[in-house]
């Protein structure tokens, strides 16, 4: 392969030589004019010219005669011989001769990579620039997050706050440092001798204490607190002084009274919380009482009292004043009752509470504890009724019954209450169901499903039974007033069983309902009936426990009706496919039928016309009756303003014709008010994506009329806050926690740093 390449290169070389030769020939011939073989040359030329005239002789035969003085280095090859150098000859030479060394050299040259041409200067510069640009933009992109943060910030306060540099303790600074030089070591030894801490706790206790001492801010806060306390104290003192100066006796009296009231209130609280302290307090009261008894205050022995005593005969007021004073004395010297109560308190607090708290309240509380907190309201009303009912019951019973009612006994009472409530509910439900039943037949007759009719008939029968039950119940309820309590308590334990039973029952009925749908295929409709009847027969013996069941059944009934009315179309559609699977045409017809049925009631066109009429009516300006009865004529009851007047004042301004007057199929709303439209935003503004968003922002008020002070301040914070008179410096990398990009991080050979050298000038 190498050989071939060499050959090729040689070939190229030879071609080049040829190319070079041709122009060289011409000047050569001209230059040799001065030679002595001038004539011969000319002759030769002439011959050549003549021979070339016929155009055949392209390859002229140059002949080498003798060595000339000026031998061109290029002339060697082609000029002399006349035959061109053929590559094959050379190749042959290469092949035959032993040029191994040359070959080797050539190979070596070939194997060595050729140094590429240096790029031109512009290209180099461009590359430099591109590299520098990418570097710089990488450095700059660290600002992206900060710029974004600042753009999205709720508030920017300028000048941007700078964090104070944290002062690192000396230990940290010196932790990595060790004594190296002998001098240092000597010093360290000295320090060790003196037992000064060297490495770990470099600080003396004193220094540490000073470091640990309050920071400036803390100290400031502390000082402010102290100041505040002092100020408050001084205010209080001033207030006290002011009050002390007041001469009005009435004022002092009021103050004293207020204090006494307060004290008594506190005492009450203390009794509950801390009886021992309360006792001490009471002792104080006792002392005061003793003092009062000892003193002659409020006795009729003072100067004022004596004068009043004289006046008392004639003056009613004086008499009253004296009486008041005496009453006061009595009040003050009276022994306090509370003390005795407290002693008793430990014995039987419950009783006292029971005495104090009315019975009804207790019951309510019990109910609250009970299963249904939602019935609270009913409960109160019920209890009221119950109270009225129970009154006659309780009258014959001994009064001790109430008192002896312990906690254990209270529960049955509560249960009774629940029962009563239940009865009430049931009663109301029954009434409702009766109404429903009255309404039923009409609805049922419309549904032509025979099965449902049957079921309904069953249900009707049931409901009749229920009615009877209900009537009997009513009678019972009326008679219940006289029935002793013990009898009423009977159903209570049984009550729970039906309550629990409710669920399975419902499931059964649901199954029945499912069965209803399939009744066409299954003819065993009689099965559920006996079950029902059986259940009834089971329950008939005792009516009362049956009551919830009946309620249940009533509910069922209602459900059923709902189902029938709502599901009737779906039942039909279910039935349709079974019959029509074979014929597709019928399907279409049926669909049409369905649509017809679906829209059977509404006539669209008529509706539209009606709508339009309504719209027109609504948009018409209304007459305004401005007649003033009695104005300019007689007025009064039964008198009407004259027709003339009425005509005069009735205003019916004719509006402009409607735009859709001549368009029967269109309603053009003319509600848009031009005057308000000027105040409306026509296009959704930019940052909002939905009109509702925009509306919401507009509808939330900002002002302090609608917002608390704090919220108002928060809502109205300005986006940019600047301090007047403060210079705002450009943002710094150090401020935001970055290292400022210094020169060192990029190679620089141009600038020497001589910062701050010049500041002195």
């Amino acid at each position: 392969m190498n050989v071939n390449q060499v050959a090729e290169s040689l070939l190229a070389l030879s071609q080049q030589e040829e190319l070079v030769d041709l122009p060289k020939n011409c000047p050569l011939s001209e230059n040799e004019d001065d030679g002595d073989s001038d004539g011969e040359r000319k002759h030769q030329k002439l011959l050549e010219a003549i021979s070339s005239l016929d155009g055949k002789n392209r390859g002229r035969l140059a002949e080498r005669s003798e060595a000339s003085l000026k031998v061109s280095e290029f002339n060697v090859s082609s000029e002399g011989s006349g035959e061109k150098l053929v590559l094959a000859d050379l190749l042959e030479l290469v092949k035959t001769s032993s040029l191994a060394t040359v070959k080797k050299q050539l190979n070596r040259v070939k194997s060595r990579k050729v140094v590429e041409l240096p790029l031109n200067k512009e290209k180099i510069e461009q590359i430099h620039r591109e590299v520098a640009f990418s570097k710089t933009s990488r450095v700059l992109s660290k600002w992206d997050s900060i710029v974004l943060k600042n753009q999205q910030a709720e508030q920017l306060a300028f000048p941007l706050g700078r964090e104070r540099p944290a002062i690192a303790p000396i230990e940290h600074a010196l932790s990595g440092w060790k004594a190296r030089t002998p001098l240092e070591q000597e010093i360290f030894n000295l320090l060790h001798k003196n037992k000064r801490p060297v490495t770990d706790p470099l600080l003396t206790p004193m220094e540490k204490a000073s470091l640990r001492a309050m920071s400036l801010e803390e100290a400031k806060m502390h000082r402010a607190e102290l100041q505040r306390a002092r100020a408050l104290q001084s205010y209080y003192e001033a207030k006290a002084r002011r009050e002390k100066k007041i001469k009005s006796k009435k004022y002092h009296k009021v103050v004293k009274k207020g204090k006494a009231r307060k004290a008594s209130k506190e005492l009450e609280q203390l009794q509950k919380v801390n009886p021992t302290v309360a006792l001490e307090e009471l002792e104080k009261f006792e002392n005061a009482r003793m003092m009062e008894r000892m003193s002659l205050k409020h006795q009729n022995s003072g100067k004022w009292a004596k004068s009043k005593a004289i006046m008392a005969k004639y003056d009613l007021e004086a008499r009253q004043a004296m009486q008041k004073q005496l009453a006061k004395n009595k009040e003050l010297t009276q022994k306090l009752q509370v003390a005795s109560e407290i002693e008793e308190e430990k014995g039987c607090t419950e009783e006292v509470e029971e005495l104090l708290v009315p019975h009804v309240v207790n019951e309510v509380q019990m109910n609250v504890d009970g299963p249904n907190p939602w019935m609270l309201r009913n409960c109160t009303s019920d209890t009221r009724e119950a109270a009225t009912q129970e009154d006659p019951e309780q009258l014959p019973e001994p009064a001790t019954h109430e008192v002896s009612e312990s906690e254990g006994e209270e529960r049955p009472v509560a249960e009774e209450e629940i029962l009563l409530r239940d009865f009430e509910e049931r009663r109301s439900l029954r009434k409702r169901s009766e109404l429903n039943q009255d309404a039923e037949p009409a609805g049922i007759q419309e549904t032509k499903d025979s099965s449902s009719q049957e079921v309904l008939s069953e249900l009707r029968a049931l409901s009749q039974k229920l009615k009877e039950n209900h009537q009997s119940r009513k009678q019972k309820a009326s008679s219940e007033g006289t029935v002793p309590q013990v009898q009423r308590e009977e159903p209570a334990p049984e009550e729970e069983a039906p309550l629990l039973l409710q669920r399975p029952e419902r499931v059964q009925t649901l199954e029945e309902l499912e069965g209803l749908g399939k009744e066409d295929c299954f003819q065993n409709k009689e099965i559920p009936r006996p079950v029902l009847e059986g259940q009834q027969s089971e329950r008939t013996p005792n009516n009362r426990p049956d009551a919830p069941k009946e309620k249940k059944e009533k509910e069922q009934l209602i459900d059923l009706q709902n189902l029938l009315t709502t599901q009737s179309p779906s039942v039909r559609s279910l039935a349709v496919p079974t019959t029509i699977e074979e014929l597709e045409d019928e399907e279409e017809r049926d669909q049409r039928q369905m649509i017809k049925e679906a829209f059977a009631g509404d006539d669209v066109i008529r509706n539209f016309l009606k709508e339009k009429r309504e719209a027109v009516e609504a948009s018409k300006p209304k007459d305004v009756d401005l007649t003033l009865p009695g104005w300019g004529e007689w007025g009064g009851v039964g008198l009407k303003p004259s027709t003339k007047k009425r005509r005069q004042f009735l205003k019916a301004p004719e509006g402009p014709p409607r735009k859709d007057k001549n368009l029967p199929n269109v309603i053009i709303s003319e509600k848009r008010n031009i005057h308000t439209a000027a105040h409306r935003v026509q296009v959704l503004p930019y940052p909002f994506t939905h009109h509702r968003q925009f509306e919401r922002t507009i509808q939330t008020p900002v002002g302090s009329t609608w917002n608390t002070q704090r919220a108002f301040q928060k809502l109205t914070t300005p986006k940019v806050v600047t301090k007047p008179g403060h210079i705002i410096k450009p943002i710094k990398a150090e401020d935001v926690g970055y290292q400022s990009s210094s020169r060192s991080d990029l190679s620089c050979h141009t600038v020497e740093s001589k910062t701050n050298h010049h500041t002195s000038q």
């Binding site: 710089t136 008020p701 002002g703 109205t716 301090k723 007047p724 008179g725 403060h726 210079i727 910062t755």
Partner: protein, 445 residues
């Protein structure tokens, strides 16, 4: 006998001292405060109207220059000090609180092309048409001393702009190339070129301080990295960019003031599409400066007005003009973000409020609360047509107004033509170019 009567506990309504606040019982039951939306709407409407009533942005005019004001600079440490350079080579230092000139320097012969302060505020640099860069002390010369620059650098070419590094003793000038100088040397430590056109302004990035941006008269904006001493990228726009300004809060965002009446906000990492095209001016935009909060910027235009744009909006929120103000050449937003200064052709520097209706001075807490509430209401109801109309309404000089109308017609005509072309050509053959991309000719790597 017990008399039943209504009684209130005095503790609920009587103050303990007269210094206490009166207790006002509030009932937040919404049924007691009906019609929330209409009431707030009316409040918002009133707030908007009052805002317009109180919109008096013009504060002061500083006169003293004897030629058009060509450049302005803020003092980095002092809010009250402002420096300005005029077209006759004069530099003046102003005190804004007293509204007077405190120092005058004849700095250059010919224009003062650029002025910038050092980050420490002790000295400032100027470049002029006389091919010099001069450094001056901020404080005036002592008694009997001559007014002389600290340093003077004689250059070979005219410098058209200068900006100082935000942290180091390095500044950059521009002219035929962008030179970066060390303050101690008389030769630039680094020269960066890309193309051979004159560069009109150069600005250091205030956040990533080694970045520079420049704009040249061959319609391009070039970004440089000082550390790597190379240009980074170049974007070519439809027309020449007069100046750029970096966002002080967002390191990679800058805004370019263009001759085609628009401003372009770029993310420097993606130069092929501007983040936002801000249009409202009706003539070339000559200068732009960011609010220090980075939320807004102000632009000065040849149409004799300055406009304030929110960064993320393409339309301006405010336009300031006076009868006497001519072409506005330079504009600056003060570093407390409350005021705007602009220097114009007719030798005056004007001071404006950044918020036209803002009350100056100390606000009581109730005033502040009312202001915040009103602001919130205006924001909430800003889309309502009545409120929008009132809030947007501005009086404009006839020249600007008619120009706007004219340009609207022109724009509509262009749009119609484009639409027609799309309609009458094979679908897909005429590309639909978005407004943002329309003005970008190329991005050169």
């Amino acid at each position: 006998m017990k008399v039943k009567m209504l009684s209130r506990n005095p503790d609920n309504y009587v103050r303990e001292t007269k210094l206490d606040l009166q207790r006002v019982p509030r009932n937040y039951d919404p049924t007691l405060h009906p019609f929330e939306v209409p009431r707030e709407y009316v409040r918002a409407l009133n707030a908007t109207k009052l805002e317009r009533v109180f919109a008096k942005p013009f504060l002061a005019s500083l006169d003293g220059h004897r030629d058009g004001v060509n450049c302005l600079a803020k003092h980095p440490k002092n809010l009250a000090t402002v420096l300005s350079g005029a077209c006759d080579g004069e530099v003046r230092i102003w005190n804004l609180t007293q509204r007077n000139c405190i120092r005058t320097i004849q700095a250059h012969e010919g224009f003062v092309r650029g002025i910038c302060t050092r980050f420490c505020g002790t000295s400032f640099f100027t470049v002029g048409d006389d091919k010099t860069v001069k450094q001056w002390k901020m404080d005036g010369p002592g008694y009997g001393e001559e007014e002389e620059p600290l340093h003077t650098i004689l250059g070979k070419t005219v410098y058209t702009g200068i900006d100082h590094h935000w942290k180091e003793a390095v500044f950059a000038t521009c002219g035929q190339q962008v030179d970066i100088w060390d303050e101690q040397r008389t030769n630039p430590i680094c020269s960066m070129t890309w193309g051979f056109d004159s560069i009109s302004s150069v600005k250091f990035n205030p956040v990533e301080t080694f970045l520079l941006g420049s704009c040249a008269s061959d319609r391009n904006i070039v970004l440089y990295d000082m550390r790597q001493a190379t240009p980074l990228k170049k974007v070519i726009l439809d027309m020449r960019t007069n100046t750029i300004c970096w966002n002080p809060m967002e390191a990679f965002i800058f805004t370019a003031a263009n001759e085609d009446y628009n401003l372009y906000t770029f993310d420097m990492r993606a130069l092929d599409t501007p983040v936002m095209v801000h249009m409202d001016h009706v003539s070339a935009v000559l200068d732009v400066d960011y609010s220090p909060t980075g939320k807004e910027f102000v632009s000065a235009s040849f149409d004799k007005s300055i406009r304030i744009f929110p960064v993320d909006k393409s339309r301006s929120r405010e336009v300031y003009h006076t009868k006497r103000m001519q072409h506005v050449i330079c504009v600056k937003w003060t570093s407390d973000s409350k005021y705007i200064m602009c220097g114009s052709d007719e030798m005056n520097i004007r001071l404006w409020k950044a918020n036209a209706s803002e009350k100056l001075g100390v606000l009581t807490s109730r005033e502040k609360a009312a202001k915040d509430y009103n602001q919130k209401l205006k924001e909430k109801f800003q889309h309502y047509p009545h409120i929008k109309r009132i809030a947007r309404h501005r009086h404009l000089p006839k020249s600007i107004y008619s120009q706007i109308q004219e340009q609207r017609i022109m724009k509509e005509a262009r749009r119609r033509k484009e639409v027609n072309r799309i309609k009458h050509s094979k679908p897909g053959s005429v590309p639909i170019v978005s407004e943002k991309k329309k003005h970008i000719v190329a991005v050169v790597k």
